[in-house]
């Protein structure tokens, strides 16, 4: 706990300094959601994000391959017809579920693509917060073993 608190303090100190120097926006400095990124299970992260148990929605598309040739780089994109204000990518079987989250200001499309690491074949969740309510899309991505040395 102490350790955690200390590193939390360190974070705020660094961010505070940079925020005051105008290097990053204040919103950003306040919000690296340590607790959410350290959440082990999907439910942990849902709880911390305030997502409860999000419902599946056909309005969300998770753009990802069925098979990843390499778990070190798995392309994942979320796009939705909902008026999204926040997007999150979760990997059920990773040591910590939350991979990344994005805040979408007005004028920005509800569309983000990035690349994530996956330790093994797992369900991947695309979460969308729109009008204060969370919903999601789920897709299984198979991670295959590579050539020669594996």
């Amino acid at each position: 706990m102490n350790q955690q608190r200390r590193s939390l303090l360190k974070y705020s100190a660094v961010f505070g300094l940079m925020a005051s120097a105008g290097l990053i926006s204040v919103a950003q400095a306040q919000e690296w959601n340590k607790a959410a990124f350290e959440g082990k299970s999907l439910d942990d992260v849902f709880k911390i994000l305030g997502a409860g148990s999000p419902e599946k929605s056909g309005a969300i598309t998770l753009n990802a391959p069925d098979i990843a040739e390499n778990g070190a780089v798995v392309p994942v994109g979320i796009t939705t017809t909902l008026k999204a204000e926040q997007l999150a990518i979760l990997v059920e079987k990773n040591p910590s579920s939350l991979a990344a989250q994005f805040f979408i200001p007005a004028g920005t499309e509800p569309f983000v693509t990035t690349r994530i690491k996956m330790g093994q074949t797992s369900n991947v969740y695309g979460l969308v917060k729109a009008d204060g309510k969370w919903s999601m899309a789920v897709k299984e991505i198979k991670v295959t073993l590579g050539g020669c040395g594996g």
């Binding site: 098979i67 780089v73 590579g146 050539g147 040395g149």
Partner: protein, 271 residues
């Protein structure tokens, strides 16, 4: 009654068809899915990050002579970078040797900047002077992207290197009896799901030679051709191939010459 029967028959046939196609297509669809994966990651090749750093290093004075590499002769005359990588390896009169890109860059670093090539040879990949080399290679090969591979064996030394390379390609050794040819001398072969180009053919050689150097997603590193060859030998369970050795020149000559007429697609993006 009759209608029911037809329907029943039709659905039976359909079910049978589905069963057959699902088992036959299992592997095909895996290959297609991998193709989709590769397509998705092709957009945004991190090689670009190395290329930018390499351009800076090319133009930055360095070494005991505090000189840049801008006068380096890669075969098309001092300072000509565009298209140079597409014609390497080649014979160089000043060194009286057949050289690939990395060997030639070592010559330039020695002659122009006064750096000791042995330091480069000895450095581990991705570290120290090799890190600089890798970035410079990324910069140079990008300036041949889209060109046709055009390697000569007109000079007797080039011809000799090609023949030695061909023999080295089939040289078996190590505790697994592997040679390059064990995996790269037949069409349509794979290790796991990775396609193996048949380097004895023009088409296969172009697929291999034409796409390296590349950013490798499995290691998150930009790999030069020397590192690619090095890791092939590691997987072959051979001893460590010496950086810039004639052995590596010969194998490169064999691959590049076989690939002639293909397109330079470097830097590639690989698993």
């Amino acid at each position: 009654m009759q209608r029911k029967l037809t329907l029943g028959l039709a659905s039976g046939v359909l079910a049978a068809l589905l069963m057959v196609s699902s088992s036959v297509s299992a592997q095909k669809s895996a290959t297609e899915d991998i193709a989709k994966y590769r397509e998705m990651i092709a957009d945004g090749n991190p090689s670009e990050l190395y290329e930018a750093a390499g351009e800076e290093l090319w133009k930055k004075p360095a070494g005991p002579k505090n000189a840049t590499l801008e006068k380096c002769d890669l075969g098309l005359g001092p300072g000509v970078v565009k298209g140079a990588a597409a014609q390497l390896p080649r014979y160089f009169k000043d060194t009286n040797k057949v050289q690939d890109l990395e060997s030639r860059l070592m010559t330039c670093m020695q002659k122009l900047q006064g750096r000791d090539p042995q330091e480069m040879v000895d450095a581990p990949f991705q570290k120290g002077p090799k890190k600089d080399m890798e970035a410079i290679v990324a910069y140079v090969v990008t300036l041949s992207k889209g060109d046709k591979i055009k390697v000569s064996t007109n000079h007797p030394k080039e011809k000799e290197m090609y023949e030695l390379g061909k023999r080295a390609f089939f040289f078996q050794g190590g505790p697994m009896d592997f040679s390059c040819a064990s995996c790269h001398a037949e069409d349509g072969k794979r290790i796991r799901l990775q396609d193996l180009p048949n380097i004895t053919t023009q088409k296969g050689a172009a697929l291999g030679w034409g796409y390296w150097p590349a950013y490798r997603v499995s290691s998150g590193q930009f790999w030069t051709m020397q590192q690619r060859l090095n890791d092939c030998f590691r997987q072959q369970r051979f001893p460590f191939p010496i950086y810039g050795s004639d052995l590596t020149m010969a194998l490169s000559m064999y691959m590049a010459k076989n690939a002639n007429g293909g397109t330079v697609e470097t830097p590639g993006l690989k698993r």
